[in-house]
Structures are given as C-alpha cells and as structure tokens.
Symmetry: C2
Subunit: 107 residues, 2 copies
Amino acid sequence: MTDLNQTFAALSDTTRRAIVARLAEGEAPLAKVAAPFQMSLTAVSKHVRVLSDAGLVSVTKRGRTRYCRIEASPMREAVNWLNDYQRFWDHQLEALGEFLQDENEDV
Amino acid sequence: MTDLNQTFAALSDTTRRAIVARLAEGEAPLAKVAAPFQMSLTAVSKHVRVLSDAGLVSVTKRGRTRYCRIEASPMREAVNWLNDYQRFWDHQLEALGEFLQDENEDV
DNA sequence: ATAATAGTCAACCAATAAGTTCACAAATGG
DNA sequence: CCATTTGTGAACTTATTGGTTGACTATTAT
C-alpha cells in the first residue's frame, strides 16, 4: 500500500479524525484518548495503531503508559496531492471554469 | 457515513486517484478512463461509482457513452479539515516545534 | 436486420476493517 | 505481596472492499 493510500484511509474514519483532533491539543495517554468514545479501549487502541502505521501519530511508552502524539507530516503529502486539483476545488476558479464552459456552449 | 469519511475513503485507492488525475485533464468516456488499467471495465466502473457517490466525479450519459468529469468540491472540505493541522505538517513550524521540545528536555 | 460498442447488473470470492470479549503482561501503589 | 491501572494479543463476528465472470440492455454503425 502506498503512503497516500494509508494516509487517506487512516483519515477516512470519524473516530480516527477525532483522535487526531484530540492530539492536536497535545500529547495524551491512550486511556485519555479513549475516554470520550463509547467503544472499548481495545478498539481505540486499534485505531491509534492504524494512525501510527500511517505515520500520523507516534506512541511512546513511559512507564505503563503509552503517550500518543500527533505526527502530521504525512498530511503534508496528502495536501500536496490535493493541491494539484486546487483549480477544481477553489471557489473562484471554479466559477471561472463554469464561465468558460458557458462560453463554449455557445459555439 | 459522513462526507469526509466518503471523500477520504474514495481517495485512499491508487486506481481512484489515478482516475481523478486523468479526469483533471478533461472529461472522458468511461472506456477511455478504463483503458490504462489492467482490470476489467466493470471494476473501473465500480471505482467511478465510488468517486461519484463521494461527489468527486459526475457521470453524464450521452448516447451510449458515459462521460466522466471531475467534480472536486468535496476536496475542498478535505483540505479544510487538513488545514486545521497545518501547524503540524508545515515544515518550518515543525522545525520550531522540535526546537521548543529540545528546550523543554533541558528542564 | 445484424453486429459491434459501451456499459450495467447480479452473483460470487478473497481479503480487510471495525468491533467485541477474554486472557494476559507489565508497571505502580498500598 | 497483592491489587490496580494501563494497556496488548488472540480469537471471533459481521460488514465492506476490490476484484472476477457472465448475462443482459441500449445505442450506433453497416
């Protein structure tokens, strides 16, 4: 699997995006990360594993606690990929595109 | 499934990103979209369906031909989400973060 | 009318994902 | 030493994904 596959797949889950959002506020032990969710700790642990396999999060063991922190560099690649299509998702340029297309329809 | 789930999931596949890249060059009939891939037309058709369900591609039937075009507005939401973490994936700020952390380690 | 083109639909398969539970390990606290 | 906290690992279930093939529909070309 390519890095981009892994990055986008990791971000395609609500729980995992919430974990990223949580970790953006600062490092946190897994138990604290898991607290807001209804699912089992094991399930959250798996989500963190997916994020860490994708390189979006790193986990450091100190004592019996695993501290999770955001490690967002793969996001940069994702954004880079998306930026290649900026002309499609940019509002103003999209309006320009529609204008040009309307012009063409007259021909 | 949320829009973001769908958008990120749609982009988490190499074939589908290649399709998006192809369509960025302009509208194309499904057969042309499928041509570069080894898999069956049915499989490509399914990928296009995933992209179209996610709103990233629209399909218009003219005659017996289905024309596919990029429809990238959902990408905007994805980029918006990622931008919330820009400070993590931005190169220079990341370097700053490491600097600050090194400072802390002295304490 | 017939044949070729463009594509869908349904059925199926193998692999992966997301969750569960239970048993266990390893560190900390009394 | 013993209990508690903080997780991991294995086994299992259910649903989804990505692919196949074969039959079919609809449009165009001869």
